[in-house]
Structures are given as C-alpha cells and as structure tokens.
Amino acid sequence: MKSTTAKIGLVLWLTLVICAAILFPMVPAPEKWYEFPIIPGLEEKARIIFFHVPMAWTTVVAFVAAMIYGIRFLMTKNLDYDLRSVSAAGLGTMFCILATVTGSLWAKFNWGSFWNWDPRETSIFVLLLIYGAYFALRSAVDVEEKRATLSAVYAIIAGVTVPFFIFVMPRIMTGLHPGSKGDPQGAGPVVQFKMAPNMLLVFFASLLGFTLLYFWLFNLKVRSSRLELQQQSQE
C-alpha cells in the first residue's frame, strides 16, 4: 500500500519537525548543528514561527484551493468540484482559527495584548471574515446547484479583492510583526524572515509538513463527504 507508507512517512516527518522545533536549544552563540541562535527580543517565543506561520500559509493555500475548485465548478457545473471547494474552505477555516489563536497568544506575551491591529492580524481577521461569510451564504441558499454557483462567485470576488490589502496596509499602519521593523516592505501581509540556516531548514520542513497534512485532510474530507452523499441517496 503506497498511500499507507506515505501517511506513516508524513506522521514521522511531522513528529521530527515538532520535536526539533520544541526541543532544539537556543543559545547566544550556536556551535553545534542543532543549536538555534537567540533572536533578541523574541528568545524562546521565536519557536512559534514553526507552527504559526505554516498554519497561516495553509489557510491561504486552502483559500486558493476553494477558489480554484469554484472556478472549475462554474466551468463544468460538476457538483463534485463544489464538494471539493467547500471541503477546502472548511479546512481553511480551521487553520485560520488556529493561526489566529496561536498568533494572538504569542502577541499577548510579546506585544502585551491579544489583539493590536497589526497588518498581519488584520489580514488574517479578514480571511476569517471571508470564510465566515462564505459559509453564511451557503447556509442561506436551498438549491444545491444555486448554492454552489453563488459561493463559487463569492469566493472568486473575495479572491480578487483581498490582494488589495497588500497595497492598502503599508499606507495606513505600521507593522509590529517580526520582519517588518525598519523594513519598508515589511508592513505588507507577507513576512520576510532572516533566519539561521538550521532554523530555516526546520521552518521549511514544517511548512512542507503542514501543507502535506492539509492535502491529506482534504482528501479524507472529500472522500467522507462523497460517502455521506451516497448514503443519503440510498436512503
């Protein structure tokens, strides 16, 4: 079974990444390969980057997936694409909540309050609102075909307007987020990190792990939804 090997591999991968992210010591002057350098002002709190950023990233991946499946539904009128679109959006909402909560907890300890309207906090909040609106719209339409069409159209409109934040944010707020201090481009919703090579390695391993985890969950969700539909039609 190829897929079983892949799943075990992914579980192992994520376990290693999580262990490395939590256990690798932070020292002022790293000598050994597993020692992370201390970032002034962040210290041990820097470890959240290995979890929080991949979650925020997965939120965006899920949003783009929901939008692309929405476009494919509009082109083919095949309801299976709508099922995939809504599965992606459901997972996206989950990751979005996780990213918001982890980011907010971290903000409490680093900036002193749970919410500061930092550009990135605002962007993730807007994504949360869009996911919420998407599901509110879906629950307000009875006919399945119509529901699929309207939510696909909404996802696309949201998808073209959200990038405007990249231009709007820097004009109105100054960033608190790591990576934005003293950096003219840093106030956008995307963070540029300057990290030690070994941190960067763990970071990208985590990013990859979480992305694969998303695709695995997505696959499971789509298959279980299909089974539910089959069961409904048999009753």
């Binding site: 009128k77 009875d142 006919v143 399945e144 075909e145 039609s233």
Partner: protein, 212 residues
C-alpha cells in the same frame, strides 16, 4: 421550410441531486406546434424554462437556428416570446409603460409604439392602458403578458399554462394567437388543457417519459 429549428439534445435536470427528467430530445421546425403535458410537479415549467434559456440544464443542450444560422444563447431572447404565470410585469408602471419599457430595453428599432397599442386592443385592455399594473385583475395581467411576449414579433412562442386566469373572451384571444403563430413560427405550450393539446402536432408527456 428549414429556416427555423429548435433542437433539444438529451436534456437532463436535477434539483438537489433529484432527477426531474432525463434524456429529453426533440427537434421542432417552422410551422410546428408542440405540447408538453404532465401532472403537477412533473417538470413542465422546468423544461419550458430550460428551452427559454432561463434555467441551465444539468446535461444536454438547446440549439436554435434562425435562417440557417445558429443563435447564440445570450441573444436567444430576441427570437423568443414567453408567457408564464411566474413572469411578472412591473407593478408600479402602467400597461403601456411596461410595453414601451420592454421595447426600449430590447432595443427594438421599428416603431413599436403602434404595435404596442395594437396588441393592447387585441387583448382588450386598451382602455386601461394608463392604469398601473397593480390595479389590474389577474386575468388582465395575463393579457398584458401576451402583449409583452408578442411585441417584438418573435419566431418562437412559448407558453406555460396560457389560459390560466382568463375568461372565455381571453381564451378566444389566446386561441387566435395560437392559430396564427403556428403558421409563422414554432409554438410550444406547456399545459394540461385538452383543448390546447388538440392544436399540437406532437405531444410530450413527461409522466410517461419517466415510466419508460
């Protein structure tokens, strides 16, 4: 006589994954009248809406060609007149205003004001033409719908329950429209009135379709 054809190719419609009808195919030519019958809920109105382009089918196509050229679905409405109970006029405008409005939005180029008045006379609502539609009785509204459907002289006339709400005089007016239109174009009637079905060259019974 192949100037005008309407072809339905294996039409299928589902609502919430429930099949309303499946594999419906037929071809109509100029001068033909077609009746669609079936009990309530059999999908008559759904099929008629699909033929008019108001609803998209789950599978299958509707093709119309006028003078040998296929008509783009987006401008099919220019060749189509449709009368149905769920097709409402604008309440806050008078009968003649409604017709003039439709003519202008359609972008009709000929002098349609004269045609509009003629149609209002034909359906005997000319005296009330300046009253707001909200004051009309349901029968008068039905007559106005006929006038609106015929204003642009469509090649294809589609009627869903054409004689509902009408008195004998109104029914007679509709019958004369039917008799005249089937000579010059395609006529499609969704109805359960035996009297209307008599005029049709072919009848599609959606109940039997389902049994087969």
């Amino acid at each position: 006589m192949n100037h005008l054809t309407l072809t339905a190719g294996s039409l299928k419609k589902e609502f919430n994954r429930r099949v309303i009808f499946d594999s419906i195919s037929f071809t109509l030519h100029e001068g033909e009248a077609f009746a669609i019958t079936g009990r309530n809920g059999s999908g008559k109105s759904t099929l008629v809406k699909i033929l008019c382009g108001l609803l998209s089918p789950t599978k299958g196509t509707v093709r119309v060609s006028v003078e040998g050229k296929e008509v783009n679905a987006e401008i099919l409405f220019r060749h189509l007149g449709f009368v149905a109970p769920y097709l409402n006029m604008y309440d806050e405008f008078s009968g003649i205003e409604n017709l003039m409005l439709f003519g202008k939005i359609r972008g009709l180029e000929n002098n349609f004001a004269g045609d509009a008045e003629e149609l209002l006379r034909q359906f005997n609502i000319f005296e009330r033409r300046h009253d707001e539609v909200r004051t009309y009785s349901s029968g008068m509204k039905q007559r106005l719908k006929f006038a609106a459907a015929l204003l642009h002289r469509p090649e294809i006339l589609v009627m869903d329950e054409p004689t509902s709400n009408l008195d004998e005089e109104g029914i007679a007016a509709v019958r004369s429209v039917i008799a005249e239109h089937r000579r010059r174009g395609i006529l499609i009637i969704a109805t359960n009135e035996k009297e209307d079905v008599k005029y049709a060259d072919a009848v599609l019974n959606l109940d039997e379709r389902k049994l087969r």
